[in-house]
């Protein structure tokens, strides 16, 4: 049962990491254009990353 003592925090941490990752992706506009991004990966030239949206910059 002692294993729980580190397994549970590890689980919460990893889950939280996933959640934080998702919220970050959402915030940085990666969910704004699902259709376009699906095809964009097929372009073989270099694609610069999106700059942060306007509201974020001002904060």
């Amino acid at each position: 049962m002692e294993s729980l003592l580190y397994l549970i925090p590890a689980m919460l941490f990893l889950g939280g990491l996933g959640l934080a990752g998702f919220l970050w992706a959402l915030r940085s506009g990666q969910y704004d254009d699902m259709e376009g991004n699906a095809s964009r990966i097929l372009f073989d030239d270099d694609d610069k990353p999106l700059p942060a949206p306007e509201e974020e910059k001002k904060k």
Partner: protein, 774 residues
Amino acid sequence: MTKACLHCGDPVPSLSEGGDGFCCKGCEGAYNLINGLGLKTYYERRTIDPEIKALRPDEDGAMINYRAHIIEEEDATKTLYLMVEGIHCAACVWLIETALAKQDGVLQARVNMSTRRLVLKWRGDDIDPNELVGTINALGYRLVPFDPCLLNSENQKSEKELLRALAVAGFATANVMLFSVSVWAGYSQGMMESTRDLMHWLSALVAMPAVAYAGRPFFRSALTALKSGRTNMDVPISLAVILTAAMSLVQVINSEEHVYFDSSISLLFFLLIGRYLDRRARGRARGAAEHLLGLNAVAVSVLLDDGTQSLLPPDQVKDGMTVLSTAGERIAVDGVIVDGQSDIDTSLISGESVPVTVKTDDRVFAGTTNLSGALKIKVTATGESTLLAEIVRLMEEAEAGRAKYVAIADRVAQQYGPVVNVLALGTFLFWFFIAGAAWHEALLTAVAVLIITCPCALALAVPVVQVIASGRLMRQGILVKTGTALERLAQVKHVVFDKTGTLTQGRAELVNRTEIDDEAVMLAASIAAASKHPLSRALCRAVGRVSVKSGVQEISGNGLAWQDVRLGSRNWCGDEAAPLSAGPELWLNQPDKAPICFRFEDNLRRDAQDVITQLKAQGYGLHLLSGDRTEPVRKVAEDLAIDDWKAQCTPKAKCDALEKLDHPLMVGDGLNDAPALAAAHVSLSPSTAIDVSQTAADAVFQGDRLRPVIEALGVAKKAEILVKQNFALAFIYNGVTIPLAVAGYVTPLIAAVAMSTSSLVVIANALRLSRGKL
């Protein structure tokens, strides 16, 4: 065999002006431009779909002055927000972005393929935005500026908030469920009390903040409803979620056996899924409708005091300015003609199908189309104009009436909420006073009743069906904009059509092609190709692609002249003695030959007959209300066998006629239909409709066919059946579980199982609508 155009793939006509490899100059230009930028791979990238062709640049499309729409930022970067028409695959996105990025000074060019919007950023004062955007115009895409602050930012914000809440709820649900499953496993394997309490504390740690965060959309809506003295579905939801979480917290502190954190948070999770999908479907439909509207907006060419012309967006045109309108253009302002004479097509305003002649000092209205001559129009305030003011007033009246409609989910909630709350209170009183339980045990049982009755399935019953229904309609080009439109569509008993532009195509078609010999038709078409006049356009459409004759002169108010050949109105080059035809006509006059008459009519939509027959067979009452003269309306009504028709209706008369009908569906496109669209129980309008009407309508359909009317009614009917089934399923489930809960037999495990299964059953039932026949 004819060769295919290197750019658009159309067959190359003999003697093409674009040279050997191209069908027209525009394609040649686009091809050379793409080549010059080194983007030839576009032709390999684009999906070769036989249905979709590369765009052919439209040389005479209205030019817009993009300078007026630049948004400048502090660091000297300039931004343009543009809607793009013509994107059909990822290759288009790539082409637009790369073509722009290659220009000097461009910092960013990013196309959003889902919303068809382009953000263009650049730096440097010497860069002309019109030139930048002109590159893309030359490729055949049409770009229209829009204001990012105005367009559905509110909607997007709430959609994002829901998605964030959904993510948090999902994370919490998964983790709390893990703890709960261990506790449930512990029942049979003998978990020590201290371990169980640890699990409960951990659940509380995850669930409490998650509930507080993810529940906000529901709490807020419930509060607003309560404040105004109403209840809606969110009131019982909020109550159940909050009470469950609070009660469980007390249980944990007292180290009791049963906690319901998992129910509380998974309830939120399920409901958020429904709500998010609902919002997204609605947002996409609305976004697409706004996109259509935005593209319709044209630039107005204004004559400045110093004699120069400038192109302005319609909202920047002020009173007293002088506006130029050329033949073939839709007039974008209300005003008085100061110079010029022309025929104008007022069908979008009044339903009248025959053009009206206007001259100096006559009033013209936004939404009419200038057919023949150039006009100078002095802008007068829209508020003064009697017609528009009348229509706006009628619409406001009509809309107030419609706001009374209450969504079925809210009607159910109004009945259901109090019953549940009374039941929970009764349970508490029974256990506390009669059965003599301790107060917190009695309260726990009461909370269990709340959880089990909590309208999870009930709250999902409507949105899931609506999402699937509006998704299905959207795939067919029907954009459902208002939330309750589907419910109202299902109640429709009568279908009322407008004539011009709704039952008919709203544009002239050549009707006597077969009577005229080919040589004359080709000659006439190649002269007509030089003009933007709607009849010339119709003539070219009837013939297909022709090469344009060079040296065609446009003689204002009369027609076109090429060498000795004249093409134009009856009294200019026609045979005055010939019998009058029903619709507009064009005459071709060649030297030494008898003049030839080309007759045009506004034909019915191709499937109008079928649609009317089917609607009749389905038992709908059919009506025709038109602002047009009696004769053409009678003809259409007789052709389609619509018994109840009325011609020369004013907007007010249309509203009055609708009032007498039981649950009418109004289908219309003109400004004169707008009040009727707002007054009808539910309304549809084609995407060619005037903007006021599109805004007033509950749903907008795209394409040349009338079939969407049947489709929308069918899907709505089916959706209503499914919603009712879903309610029945939810009530059956409640009928079984409520007695268990009142009796105090519901453990957290049973609650979780019951809730998930009922939700899944409801969702599975709704999914039946996504495919298959109606």
